[in-house]
Amino acid sequence: MKKILVTTLGVALVAGLAWATPEEDRLAFIDYHKKRFPNVAVEDYVNGVYAINPPAYQQWLQIEEFPPYELAMAEGKELFETPFANGKTYADCFPNGGIGIRQNYPYFDAETGQVKTIELEINECRERNGEKPFKYSKGKMAAISAYMAFTSRGEKLNVVIPDDPRALAAYEDGKEYYYSKRGQLNFSCADCHVASSGMMIRADMLSPALGHPTHFPVYRSKWDDMGTLHRRFGGCNKQVRATPLPAQSEEYRNLEYFLTYMSNGMEVNGPGARK
């Protein structure tokens, strides 16, 4: 009996210590949010902080009646459809002509061993066709990304972590970044958006982590401008007095890989409007 008990205990300990798989992480992430906000449906987290803040939700609905990202989206559509100097277009670079594919990003590219984001591939497409790359945080890049997200609205995020140790390593790297404290003020992403979500930081409610990447790029009132997810990462880094990394750096791409995987199965609803 004692032997059985010891063996059982041993197995339980080993199981507890073993790495959680990404899917176990995701389910635990959802479970945490369900417990923290029992009245919020999982699919509503695509609306970010507005999912947990009814008064702000009403204001946001009014903003969405005349969406501030509409101009950027129109610019993005035009850019997307205008052929390059060589006559080719973005549609030639992407599966399904680039329409309705946002949910499959980011993905792990076995050839380069890197996580590929949609913004990275937009620039790769440009360079392959003899065009200069765009800057990654805002402007034309955010506009094209906004249009591509718009054509994918309603599609469910489907980030795949293939059976490749390099893919798993990229995921783990992003996860480590998310939970590591940094900056003079010593906050991890998770300190604010997991452990303290729904709390007030001064006059602002901290948004929950689940669903965070679904609505990017966003028009942010604070910026009075459009920005990509990596622009927002940089802003978060600055707020905790950490040096922001360049948009599309390997660390940010891996972070996007982890963060988007956590929201797998949720609908793409970008571009979004945020405070």
Binding site: Q184, N186, F187
Partner: protein, 120 residues
């Protein structure tokens, strides 16, 4: 001269020396509290209102506990200073910035903020 008179004279002389000194100590303490309040409310310094409700502060956050009854919670002022200096010492899971070790505030600024917070 009697001993009594000498004593009276001495105390009068000392008193005239000590009275302004005592006055300026009180004034200094008062200004330390004021300076500490300024640092506590400054978004670029303590920014305590980001997370703590403080009487007299607008739009306070609620990630940390309200700063009330501080003398009851910290009978020893040194413990309050230690908490402001580095909340990790007592609670390694605290999300409060480590103002002292991370040099987000100087020792003098932490002293002044302690003086202010101790009045709450």
């Amino acid at each position: 001269m009697t001993r009594k008179i000498v004593a009276a004279l001495v105390s009068a002389v000392l008193g005239s020396l000590l009275l302004p000194a005592a006055w300026s100590v009180a004034e200094e303490a008062q200004s330390a509290v004021e300076l500490g309040k300024g640092l506590a409310f400054d978004r670029k310094k303590g920014n305590c209102l980001a997370c703590h409700v403080i009487a007299g502060g607008d739009l306070a956050g609620n990630i940390g506990p309200p700063l009330v009854a501080m003398k009851m919670r910290f009978p020893d002022k040194a413990d309050l200073r230690a908490q402001i200096y580095d909340a990790f010492t007592k609670n390694p899971r605290s999300v409060m910035p480590r103002f002292g070790p991370h040099r987000a505030l100087t020792d003098e600024q932490i002293d002044l903020i302690t003086e202010y917070v101790y009045t709450l």
